[in-house]
């Protein structure tokens, strides 16, 4: 069974799924004609191409020599993603500094056994650096701390 779950079959299935998903999601788009193409002409053509290439890639996975998928670990994947999302959702309501601390705390979860102290100090340094470069230096319209009630 696991022989079939190699890089090629999975990548092929992924492209097949994206292509098919695009065809379904874009079924209401107008294709039009060559001299007056609708908005769907090129994107749906791209979806069909992905379906075709996906099948081709998956077919390659039947070979015995198809490369196996290296096992991954969920922890770094989740921690890094969480760090980015934490920043995204904290920035506008809570300001840059809290967003950075939230992000750093999430990022630290990527590896086990990181002491809180070795997260907070770098996060403080990082906050200062970001404020100095982006806010005071480049004058980006970011606020440092929570801004409630204002505009």
């Amino acid at each position: 069974m696991s022989r079939w779950l190699n890089q090629d079959t999975l990548a092929g299935a992924l492209f097949l799924a994206i292509g098919a998903g695009g065809l379904v999601a874009g079924r209401s788009l107008n294709v039009g004609t060559a001299d007056a193409m609708g908005e769907g002409y090129v994107p749906l053509a791209a979806c069909w191409l992905m379906v075709g290439l996906g099948l081709l890639i998956a077919a390659g996975g039947v070979r015995a020599s198809a490369p196996a998928v290296e096992p991954g670990r969920l922890r770094p994947l989740l921690a890094v993603t969480a760090a980015v999302l934490a920043f995204a959702f904290a920035l506008e309501p809570l300001g840059v500094v809290i967003a950075i601390f939230a992000s750093a705390l999430c990022a630290a979860r990527a590896v086990p056994g990181v002491a809180l102290r070795s997260v907070l100090l770098p996060a403080a340094v990082l906050s200062l650096a970001v404020l100095a470069i982006f806010v005071w230096g480049l004058g980006l319209p970011l606020h440092a701390l929570p801004r409630l009630g204002g505009g």
């Binding site: 319209p141 929570p146 801004r147 409630l148 009630g149 204002g150 505009g151």
Partner: protein, 328 residues
Amino acid sequence: MPIQTLVAGALPAIVAALAIFLQPVCAAQPVWPSKPVRLIVPQSSGGSTDLVARPLAQQLSAALGQTVLVDNRPGAGSVIGTEIVARAAPDGHTLLAIAASFTATPALHPKLSFDSERDFAPITVLSAFPNLLVVHPSLPVKSVQDLLALARAKPGMLNYGTSGAATGTHMSMERFMQMTGTRLVHVPYKGGAPSVQALVANEVQVNMATISTALPQVRAGRLRALASTGARRSTVLPELPTVAEAGVPGFEYASWTGLLAPARTPRPVIDRLHAEAVRAVNSPDLKALLAIEGAEPVGSTPAQFAAQIRLEIVRWTQLVKAAGIRAD
């Protein structure tokens, strides 16, 4: 223990948050402008609105004693930036500088989340600029009449370029075709510069381009100007007739840049902004700048501007229906 520590730790934070939250209520009604003013330009920087908005922001900053910050929020044919202003607090700290497409938007996007008339307090039209009707020099037409004759002889043969579907250059051509009963094929480009380049490369034969993009090519002999689209002749090409003079009576198209605030912005704030904006556009600096673009300062009153918006919205809605243009 953990809960106690948590509470002990969180308490100062809660107090601080409350203090910040209550601040606007406790503080006395601030004098406008009490903080930097955001001037939203729903267009990327370097565009024609931005070119007016930036020097305007500079002069307003000096006059108001608070920074007026230009904030470019391009996207979805200006809808994204316009929406921000429609939803902003009407306290005079958020303003909108916008191009003439503002009045075409309601016709093109029936599902807008804002009302272009009701949600805004017009302040003034800053500047107005006509377009140029230009053709490739290899086209055997020397006047608007020649062009009409050719277009009528071979309907659907000539292509015209625009800076995008439903932009001013497109709408003015649609109007031109509607009034003259001609049919040219629309070829949209991503912006004015590529559309003028395509005209120079003879990929399309006609364009109603903005003066600033077309003028250098006209001066270099790469394009032939047939007419300007305003009600009066353009100051940069006074020898050139208007489209109306050249045989399409009643045709007039001039793009403009306007300054608006969210609806319900206090009257004194609007009046102050109007006075300062009119002074700014009539300053020698801005006047000179506008002249390069082939534009002229306007400075109409809020009431005149409101009437103009109402009229144009009706006009564009009729045109969009008649021509079957869609952008949504």
